[in-house]
């Protein structure tokens, strides 16, 4: 059996498993309420919660993009292990307090917190909703493009790019619509396991081929000495900046916040986060080593796009035939699983976010769920034509995603811990930070002195929010204290 034929069989088996899980999730529904559809009835236990957090956090970019960045940067990309871990550290400032309020107030969307904490501040709730929607749309678009790319590669062209995008988008839409968060979480669990197995196999092959870690590092030093050298001051500044940017931006991802709401109990949430903190060592560090190993395997100076490094390694691995080809297919399917699990989470969050936080539709049991599903379907359909344009470069927008999202952090992190924070000052901060980050990114200045413009924008944002709240505190401090209790 050829690599492409193996890929087609694996793809069919994978989609079959997804269909079974989606049907089981549909049957497990208790009612059609927004809480049941978007938050799985707030009943996610430790294991499923852990795996869905894992599969959602590690996207196609983590598996396909990061090895490419590591290939270009060298060992300094070990910073990625640190910044992925910083997300779980930063959750300490968000999850415990938000969870307590969310449980008491039956929150479904992130906007519920903003409206609860800053009553009457519709502009602030809209600003947060818009930034989150832009980030999610970008993220979803990137996953759609990655779906087409990986499907084409794993089937050796038997399933073309366009068919991959349209077909898999349809699959995600069907199981998300049928089973909601329950289907998303259960399929995420299966996809998370597949990702871990695939990566472990690939690393074992690379280390075996190189003759161990020391031999691999020496080979990289021979091929490109600067990949092993102590990084310069600008790289160190970027390292610190990435830890701050990713840590603070990722905790306000709507799909992450909704998983905090969806946990069965505080104990389930605690244990899931305790487990999640080890996952960068098992995933990000592994993909970094894979990317660095590619320096010794792919001709230095070759103009290899970032996303092509991982597929190039897998293709080389598959050429060994037999078990090697089968293992390479498992990794490709693992990457596809990572992409689809991120796409389904984005889509589910988008439906509820647009319906409730942007359009402000009143929450009535079944109607909100239906409208949320319809909005998710329309958004997905409208994105497919853009995803099909392979020559359209969306990387600027995608790079901008975290810089925008991080501007929402004060509305959650500061607001949860400082009762004096006022809605007007928070909105002013968001506007200042966002304008700064967008203007500099669009002017092709993504970093200043190695620090992301989004992080500097966040500094300005927080400064304006704090200064504004001191100078003109909100009249509702008592209400805020009540909201935070």
């Amino acid at each position: 059996m050829t690599f492409g034929q193996l890929g087609v069989v694996a793809l069919v088996v994978y989609l079959g498993v997804l269909a079974i899980v989606a049907e089981a999730a549909r049957r497990a529904r208790s009612d059609g309420s927004p809480s049941d559809h978007f938050l799985a009835g707030r009943d996610l236990g430790v294991m499923v919660l852990f795996l869905t957090l894992y599969a959602t956090a590690y996207s196609g970019n983590s598996l396909l993009g990061y090895p490419g960045v590591a290939y270009r940067s060298g060992f300094s990309f070990v910073m990625a292990t640190g910044f992925m871990m910083s997300i779980i550290v930063a959750f300490h400032a968000l999850a415990p307090r938000l969870r307590a309020v969310a449980r008491a107030e039956a929150f479904v969307t992130p906007g519920d917190w903003v409206r609860h904490r800053f009553p009457g501040q519709r502009a602030l709730a809209s600003a947060v909703g818009i930034l989150m929607t832009i980030a999610l749309v970008n993220f979803l678009l990137a996953q759609l493009k990655a779906m087409g790319l990986v499907t084409e590669q794993v089937t050796d062209g038997a399933v073309p790019y366009a068919a991959g995008v349209i077909g898999l988008a349809g699959v995600v839409l069907v199981y998300e619509t049928l089973g909601g968060m329950r289907a998303v979480a259960w399929t995420d669990a299966a996809q998370g396991i597949l990702m871990l197995v695939g990566l472990a196999m690939l690393l074992a092959w690379i280390l075996g081929e190189a003759g161990g870690l020391a031999a691999l590092t020496e080979a990289v030093r021979q091929a490109r000495p600067e990949a092993v050298a102590v990084p310069d001051a600008a790289t160190c500044a970027n390292w610190f900046s990435s830890i701050v940017l990713l840590g603070l931006a990722s905790v306000v991802y709507p799909q992450a916040i909704q998983r905090i709401f969806a946990a069965r109990s505080a104990r389930a949430l605690q244990r899931s986060f305790a487990g999640m903190t080890f996952m960068p060592l098992a995933t990000t560090l592994v993909v970094t080593l894979i990317g660095v190993a590619a320096i010794a395997r792919i001709e230095t100076g070759a103009d290899v796009p970032s996303d092509a490094v991982m597929p190039a390694l897998l293709t080389e691995w598959a050429q060994g035939g037999g078990w090697n080809a089968a293992a390479a297919v498992v990794v490709f399917i693992g990457a596809l699983a990572a992409i689809m699990s991120t796409a389904d989470s984005c889509l589910l969050s988008l439906g509820s976010l647009v319906a409730e936080d942007l359009l402000g539709l009143p929450r009535t049991e079944n109607r909100t769920t239906k409208i949320g599903k319809l909005i998710a379907a329309l958004l997905l359909l409208s994105m497919i034509p853009i995803a099909l344009m392979r020559n359209v470069t969306l990387w600027r927008l995608i790079e901008l995603k975290m810089e925008l999202l991080v501007q929402c952090a004060p509305a959650f992190l500061l607001a949860l811990h400082w009762k004096r924070l006022s809605g007007g000052a928070t909105l002013a901060g968001i506007v200042v930070g966002t304008v700064f980050a967008v203007a500099l990114t669009q002017a092709d200045v993504p970093r200043l002195w190695g620090v992301h413009v989004g992080v500097i924008g966040l500094g300005l944002n927080a400064l304006v929010a704090i200064a504004g709240s001191w100078l003109r505190p909100s009249g509702g401090a008592g209400r805020a204290a009540e909201a935070m209790r």
């Binding site: 640190g82 550290v89 020391a214 990084p231 104990r267």
Partner: protein, 69 residues
């Protein structure tokens, strides 16, 4: 200050130590466990962060009516 806050403080220190800002660019690099020494230090710091953070999460006190059941 509670244990959890001390743990978070230690995590901050490990993060600062994980970045090789204190090393001169281009200084000689030796291998530790098959990795460049500054990479081995970073990974050791992150392993420490993971352990301390896991303990800190298990110490979080979140009032939740379901836990009492």
């Amino acid at each position: 200050m509670g244990v959890r806050r001390w743990l978070l403080l230690a995590i901050g220190v490990l993060y600062v130590a994980s970045v090789p800002w204190y090393r001169e660019t281009g200084s000689p690099v030796s291998l530790v466990f098959g990795l460049p020494d500054w990479v081995a230090v970073a990974i050791a710091c992150y392993a420490g962060v993971a352990i301390l953070n896991a303990v800190a999460w298990l110490l979080v006190d979140v009032p939740d009516e379901d836990d009492a059941e």
